[in-house]
Symmetry: C2
Subunit: 187 residues, 2 copies
């Protein structure tokens, strides 16, 4: 089971600030789904907001539009295979949780399931902006709860050291980068 | 002088797909400026589009709104100090190019200067969406030209190996991550 502690909402943007690839989970009624998204980013600090691109041809799009909710899950390198897989198959055809043996747990504020094994989680409510949803597949969300694995995110900072799990950054064609070494710059 | 070769526009999204922190350059008339932005992402493949958050209180915002153009420059770790500095000072008060000894070269399609020493460059024209610009400081742009240093981006892929320059990912408080090691996942 993933360990997780709440993240102060004012620090929730830091879960995404370094641009990791995320997994978008969604649910409506008895249906749920998961897809990969390399195109997400923070949009504001407080209240925290995010932006994410959700293609109009996806099952996730239907569930997000129907429920007005989604979660962004930050996967580890160990989940890169599943990340590629759920970004390649459609939830219209298979149950991706079952096919890829992805366990979930319940969020606190929204109905979308959260993924076991991830490093961070952002529960989001859609901020309705129909024009950009329709025209650009661009969804804005307010972060209403956030969580992180205290092994890698503590006191508002990612701690990626040595062999610890790290977040991942997708490019194309199955090609990823790990989040690399930390360094500090003084003003 | 930075070496650079044109990037096929259909592959331009890959310059940003891994979520690096970028430097936003802008110009209008005889004025120009540079700021840092951790909040940018690709928005579409072809024609390539990007999204970037440009705070309403910045000099960059004035120049982008006046010119309808901006460039996203992907800095290397060697430029992390300058990235933090130009993200901390305002172009309303100082000439950040001069203060931080940032050399520039001319783009091909837009008037904003491009930064020497970066690894990739995207020349963008604003796609006017006044509502989200005003409400969320969110700007969309079409990528009209893209360039990369062939030492680190070739045939549509970043090649970060060994001691080669790498892109960077900002968190907060002067704390960055390098782009880490590459790995491939088979479908």
């Amino acid at each position: 089971m993933s360990e997780r502690l709440p993240v102060d909402l004012a620090k929730a943007y830091r879960l995404l600030n370094h641009g990791p690839t995320v997994l978008v989970t969604s649910a409506h009624g008895s249906a749920s789904n998961v897809m990969a998204a390399a195109w997400s980013m923070p949009l504001d600090f407080s209240p925290p907001k995010v932006a994410v691109v959700i293609d109009r041809n996806t099952r996730t799009r239907q569930l997000v539009e129907a429920s007005g909710e989604f979660a962004l899950n930050v996967p580890s390198r160990e989940m890169a295979g599943a990340t590629l897989a759920v970004g390649s198959a459609s939830g219209r055809e298979i149950d991706k949780f079952q096919t890829h043996a992805l366990d979930t747990f319940a969020g606190e504020k929204i109905g979308a399931p959260l993924l076991e094994g991830c490093l961070g989680w952002l529960e989001c409510r859609v901020i309705p902006e129909p024009h950009i949803q329709e025209r650009y597949d661009l969804f804005l969300g307010e972060v209403v709860a956030a969580w992180a694995d205290p092994a890698v995110f503590r006191n508002g900072h990612w701690i990626f050291e040595g062999d610890s799990p790290r977040s991942i950054h997708y490019i194309a064609g199955g090609h990823f980068f790990e989040t690399g070494d930390a360094f500090d710059v003084k003003k």
